[in-house]
């Protein structure tokens, strides 16, 4: 069983590497977008899936990465690669700024505060001069590897593919480590987690910062791929779409979240012509999913092997779960 799983994964990765040679440029673009979403959803998966903190402003971290790279490359003429550590740093700072005052809040307050922060970031981007106001930043240069300038669709496809694979490995490994387990304990029952010696504030912050870093890397690459960015890409709707992918796929489940990302991007492409309907369909499916299958399409098993483990994450019916002291 385990052996086949590895082989399937290997085949899938090989397929992803040779796929660009068989796709037209339209579908290659769609696939690239899917991979951006894979990275973003993995980041959000840490925060919402593992730690159980509802973040409705995740696009803000995407924005931090994108704007940091864009500003450093246009105004200060930095190399793309050098902007990455700075974006990393800013993402951590943003995560901590948002996290520190809010992590003591109950889950629903936290959700709305993150939403507020997300909007504030968007308003800042829309109004500040350094972020190019409403029209954003354009003419972002192409990144170079040695003397090779990355400019084709395929170049960016491979870049984001590699980052997506790395982020999946990272999130997978974190989830099975001492830190990742602590996040999951907090999600399951934060008082009990605290009683077991887990400093919930510190670990929630770490969760935020880790999610933020992954989001910001996606943002940095997004900036150089598009070569122009504007506040519109970092709206509440963007945050909701990323969240939707995580929820549809299965909170805390890595394959689930990848499937979620594929669905959220590819489905609307298949439903072309029904463009207006797509957000409505997404809204309804969020509701339906929570009612009928809260654990998602490919739920996480949390390492359990129950014979009859049908109801998962979503419905533990533990009224104490959302309590805190």
């Amino acid at each position: 069983m385990k052996k086949y799983k590895n082989q399937t994964l290997l085949l899938l990765i090989i397929a992803l590497f040779i796929l660009p040679f068989f796709l037209n440029s339209y579908w290659l673009d769609v696939l690239t977008l899917v991979l951006f979403y894979v990275v973003l959803t993995q980041g959000l998966n840490i925060v919402v899936g593992y730690t159980g903190l509802l973040d409705l402003g995740y696009a803000a971290f995407f924005a931090v990465g994108a704007y940091t790279t864009a500003i450093l490359m246009t105004t200060f003429h930095w190399s793309f690669w050098l902007t990455l550590p700075v974006a990393f740093l800013f993402a951590v700072i943003a995560g901590v700024i948002i996290g520190t005052p809010t992590l003591r809040l109950r889950s629903d307050y936290l959700a709305i505060v993150t939403l507020g922060f997300g909007e504030i970031v968007k308003i800042l981007a829309t109004n500040l001069e350094i972020t190019g106001s409403a029209s954003g930043i354009y003419g972002i240069p192409r990144p170079a590897i040695g003397s090779y300038i990355m400019s084709t669709q395929k170049d960016f496809y491979y870049l984001i593919l590699i980052v997506a694979i790395l982020s999946i490995i990272a999130v997978y490994r974190l989830g099975r480590s001492r830190i990742g387990r602590a996040w999951i304990y907090i999600r399951e029952d934060e008082d009990a987690a605290e009683a077991m010696g887990i400093n919930r504030i510190r670990l929630k912050l770490l969760s935020y910062a880790s999610g933020a870093v992954i989001g910001s890397i996606a943002g940095s690459i997004f900036a150089v791929k598009m070569s122009a960015i504007a506040p519109l890409s970092f709206s509440f709707l963007q945050s909701v779409m990323i969240l939707l992918a995580v929820v549809l796929g299965g909170l805390g489940s890595i394959p689930g979240v990848v499937i979620g990302a594929v669905l959220v991007i590819v489905l609307p492409e298949l439903l072309r012509g029904a463009d207006d309907w797509r957000h409505l369909i997404f809204g309804v499916s969020l509701v339906a999913m929570m009612i009928f299958r809260p654990q998602g399409i490919w739920p996480s098993k949390n390492g359990t092997e129950d014979a009859t483990d049908m109801d998962e994450n979503g419905k533990s019916n533990d009224p104490n779960q959302s309590m805190s002291v």
């Binding site: 830190i179 304990y185 029952d189 077991m196 092997e305 129950d306």
Partner: protein, 256 residues
Amino acid sequence: MSLLTVKDLKLQFGGLLAVNDLSFTVEKNSISSIIGPNGAGKTSVFNMITGFYRPTGGEIELDGISLINKKPSQITKLGMARTFQNLRLFPNLSVLDNVKSGMHCRTKQAVWGALFQTKSQQEEERLIEKVALDCIEFVGITKNMKRSAKNLPYGAQRYLEIARALATKPKLLLLDEPAAGLNFEEKQYLIQLIRRIRDEFSITVLMIEHDMALIKEISEHITVIDYGWKIAEGTPEEVLKNEKVIEAYLGKEEVV
């Protein structure tokens, strides 16, 4: 020698004085109990000792270290573990993962180790697993190891909570009504378990319990509280003869 010292402890909820000038000590290596009618303030005392409630006044010391203004997680790290009156397991996680939580405060790998699967990370993971397995075996639920906590029989859930607490390697273990909901055989098993915890690991046990037979059998020292006040303390024989104690319990029965 006393391991835990509680002095003049006070707790107020709005107008309600839940705990009032409570003082008691717990001797090292003893099995002690707090008893009292429902609503007497017993759980509140545990919550203050473990840092979940901030006392309105008073002093709490574990092994000479003050616990006032410390977070529950810090207190756990100092060597205190607890169970909850209404089970607070991690419901969707396996028994093994539940117990691994206890080792969090005894280990230190962070993000770096996880990402790069360093050697020390892997060693630590093995250690965590070993300790968890030992604790699971100690309470006797090994066959349920991979099941999720919420699907265990009730008795096993109680033992699991104890195993999880043991995995923090405490000096003092607080059990909040550990026998509640257990049948006769399970209670006998629990008695053995508590004895073994003290005898084999030298862990001091302080518990809240309603089952007098159980308390009489294993408890060496009892503190009785009623309406937040301490009304008696001593050995089981002394306390159960005490008039105030009888009154507190009978009085309660009259109301029922």
